[in-house]
Amino acid sequence: MSVNFGSKRVVTGAHYGLRDWLAQRVTGGLVALFTFIVLAQVIFSSGPMGYETWAGIFAAQWMKALTFVVFVALAWHVWFGMRDIWMDYVKPAGIRLALHIFTIVWLVACLGWAVQVLWRL
């Protein structure tokens, strides 16, 4: 590794240690759990899968709250993953910083849209 302190310090790194590692797994686990909850409701629904049944799954208040939490967890999870990809393949700090900013803007925009859809159900 090249010099990584003083004016050469890499400003677009990860938080080394347990926190990010654990948060990546917890958020991933939440999304996996949510996937199985939605799948179970689809599989055990009666009749053909039309609009009513599908939208009804997300209309229940507990499901709305859970979906909201999972959307936030998912966005956070994607941030870890994309940050790791940029860190592995993009070395110039300026370009990496730009990609980090793009990633955050992209994710927050998609999250806002998804939450808006969820909220008006």
Binding site: V3, R25, G29, G81, I85, R120
Partner: protein, 143 residues
């Protein structure tokens, strides 16, 4: 910290076309790089995924637009291509989910042997590709 100042050899400028193709990855390596590739793909396609969620749950009318995108296409995109893109999302999600659960299991069970790495990689690839084929056949109306 003094270690950091020592000069270590750096290997850069790997040619993606001439060097990467000579790598012979073990199956666990394929699961690993595909975990990354599937995650990156879903990140790029995230607006489409939110659009699918939006149109499918918002109203009866939007649900019709959702269904029509698969049946008749949307804008200049034909239906079969739309289905193909959604199938790519389905594969990416399945692979990422199963490979992620494999990671979680390895973390919890401390299952870090070479043998388990290989056998669980086979299970991951077989499940994700198998389920993608089954769901793809359903999506394209083969059964």
């Amino acid at each position: 910290m003094t270690e950091l100042t020592k000069k270590r050899p750096e290997f850069r400028n790997i040619n993606a076309f001439t060097d990467l193709t000579t790598y012979r990855l073990p199956l666990a390596g394929w699961v690993s790089i595909l975990h990354r590739a599937s995650g990156g793909l879903m990140f790029i396609l995230l607006p489409l995924i939110v659009w699918l969620f939006d149109t499918s749950v918002s109203s009866e009318l939007s649900f019709e637009r959702f269904s029509a995108a698969f049946a008749a296409g949307i804008g200049f995109v034909p239906g079969w291509f739309f289905k193909l893109v959604v199938l790519a999302i389905i594969w990416a999600y399945l692979h990422h989910l199963i490979a992620g659960l494999r990671h979680l299991y390895m973390d919890v069970a401390h299952a870090v042997s070479k043998e388990f790495g290989k056998s669980s990689a086979i299970v991951t690839l077989a499940l994700s590709i198998g389920l993608t084929l089954v769901l793809g056949a359903k999506l394209f109306g083969l059964y």
